[in-house]
């Protein structure tokens, strides 16, 4: 290890730098929160339309299935460039942060839609039937009966995806968003040792991800077996194993 490292510590750990890191951390978290938050709402809408029993919506349903399948299969890095250049071509000069948020939203919607659909499927058919016979209508059935039972199946994997997106947004540095990874690169560029620059980066990501993962486990354990399910939860087409 270079001997300069110890000497650098003093220069590196200043108030000003700490504030820079803090801001970068905020941006990283904000991208995941905004993207997954909006994605969660959109995913619920997609599943609602996808499961709506009307012949007229068939084309829309096909589009939704395609959307969900396709956008779970495009790398974040490629997608963020597509969003960037497409919005620019459309004459929308969105800030880079917004571009990143849109990208997270687009993928998160697809991923979470799969989770929500599996949640719907985990609720026994007889619950839908009871509601139908009592004239609940589709929206009320979902709001009063299905979601209150499905959310125990939806929340844990959705939360893991949220944690995954905190890490995934490090790729947003490639279009120039000033988030954690970008901060690491900046310090490396101005001469701070890569061990120090990227090490700090790693430490902060870890400090975000590890406790949140543990929170996720606790949520999962608490929600497990909340309702007796007359049918076992359908396995997800994509099990909620979450990547790097």
């Amino acid at each position: 290890m270079p001997e300069g490292l110890l000497g650098q510590l003093e220069v590196f750990f200043t108030w000003q730098n700490a504030l820079l890191w803090l801001r970068a951390t905020g941006t990283t978290v904000a991208m995941a929160v905004v993207g997954c938050g909006v994605g969660f709402v959109l995913a619920n809408l997609l599943v609602l339309v996808r499961t709506w029993p009307s012949r007229w919506l068939l084309p829309l349903r096909v589009l939704i299935v395609l959307y969900v399948e396709v956008f779970r299969r495009i790398p974040f890095l490629v997608l963020i460039f597509l969003v960037l250049f497409t919005t620019r071509a459309l004459g929308l000069h969105m800030p880079l942060f917004a571009v990143a948020c849109v990208t997270v939203t687009v993928t998160a919607t697809a991923f979470i839609a799969e989770i929500v659909r599996a949640g719907y499927e985990s609720v026994h058919r007889n619950q839908w039937e009871s509601a139908a016979v009592m004239n609940f209508g589709r929206l009320r059935t979902v709001a009063l009966v299905v979601l209150p039972q499905a959310w125990t199946v939806i929340v844990p994997p959705a939360f893991s995806y949220f944690v995954m997106f905190i890490k995934e947004t490090s790729l947003a540095s490639q279009v120039g968003v000033y988030e954690l990874m970008q901060a690491g690169k900046y310090f490396n560029n101005v001469g701070v040792s890569p061990f120090l620059a990227f090490g700090t980066c790693l430490a902060i990501y870890f400090a975000l991800s590890y406790p949140l993962t543990r929170v996720g486990w606790r949520i999962e354990r608490r929600l497990a077996h909340r309702f007796r399910r007359t049918s076992p939860a359908e396995p997800l087409a994509a099990p909620p194993v979450v990547g790097p």
């Binding site: 396709v70 299969r73 790398p75 490629v78 597509l82 990874m181 890569p194 061990f195 790097p244």
Partner: protein, 224 residues
């Protein structure tokens, strides 16, 4: 909108993109399956090793599953030369992939082995199975069934994740798209084409994995 699509230009570069897709394929194929071998050893170590070994493996798993692979890649790419190790970008990215895949897969495998029910083990006990027989007839078949879907799924995740190699100048699919886009300025067309190739690649991978699973492990996997 002052952007005019020129799909013709983009399509002319299709062979180059496919060349890149080939690199993506062998990068992830080698990296992921090497990672799986590593993970099998680590999972065994974690289940049957000494306390110290278990702690070390846990630390490795927890570290890599809680940090972005992009940052560990930067760490390797810029850190190693500082201590005198000079690897090509491809090797750096490959090593990073193995390390990450190894960590995620260790976690998945450990969970799967832990799910072999006590009852099944006791049944094997009463039948007088030896340790090797237990592994051969009880643990491996059960674990293969439980793990097949999550491992297949992770493989897809890692194909997509390998796009970060582009940042380090590896000319895989995304890297090739980078280069072509900056030469031709047909950004939207080129990246769309690259995205389409990723979709096709991962669908093919899913289908092949589902078929292999059905034939080799009798796993009924949903293809899509």
């Amino acid at each position: 909108m002052d952007y005019t699509f020129q799909w013709g230009v983009a399509l002319r570069y299709l062979p180059d993109l496919l060349q890149g897709a080939w690199v993506t394929f062998h990068l992830t194929f080698i990296g992921f399956w090497t990672g799986l071998v590593v993970a099998v050893f680590l999972a065994v170590g974690q289940l049957y090793g000494s306390v110290r070994l278990r702690r070390a493996i846990s630390a490795y798993v927890v570290f890599f599953t809680n940090t972005p692979s992009l940052v560990t890649a930067f760490f390797i790419f810029y850190g190693l030369p500082e201590i005198g190790i000079l690897w090509s970008p491809y090797v750096c990215v490959l090593v990073n992939l193995v390390l990450n895949a190894g960590a995620f897969l260790t976690d998945v495998i450990r969970g799967g082995v832990a799910s072999v029910r006590v009852a099944e083990m006791e049944a094997a006990e009463t039948l007088g199975f030896s340790m090797l027989q237990k592994i051969r007839y009880v643990i491996v078949p059960h674990v293969a069934k439980v793990l097949y879907a999550p491992i297949s799924n992770l493989y897809i995740v890692f194909i997509l994740g390998s796009a970060l190699a582009a940042i380090f100048g590896v000319e895989e699919l995304t890297g090739t798209a980078f280069n072509i886009a900056s030469e031709t300025f047909r950004t939207i067309e080129i990246y769309s084409l690259a995205a389409a190739i990723y979709v096709v690649m991962t669908v093919v991978a899913s289908v092949v994995l589902a078929l292999v699973g059905r034939l080799a492990f009798r796993v009924r996997a949903r293809v899509l």
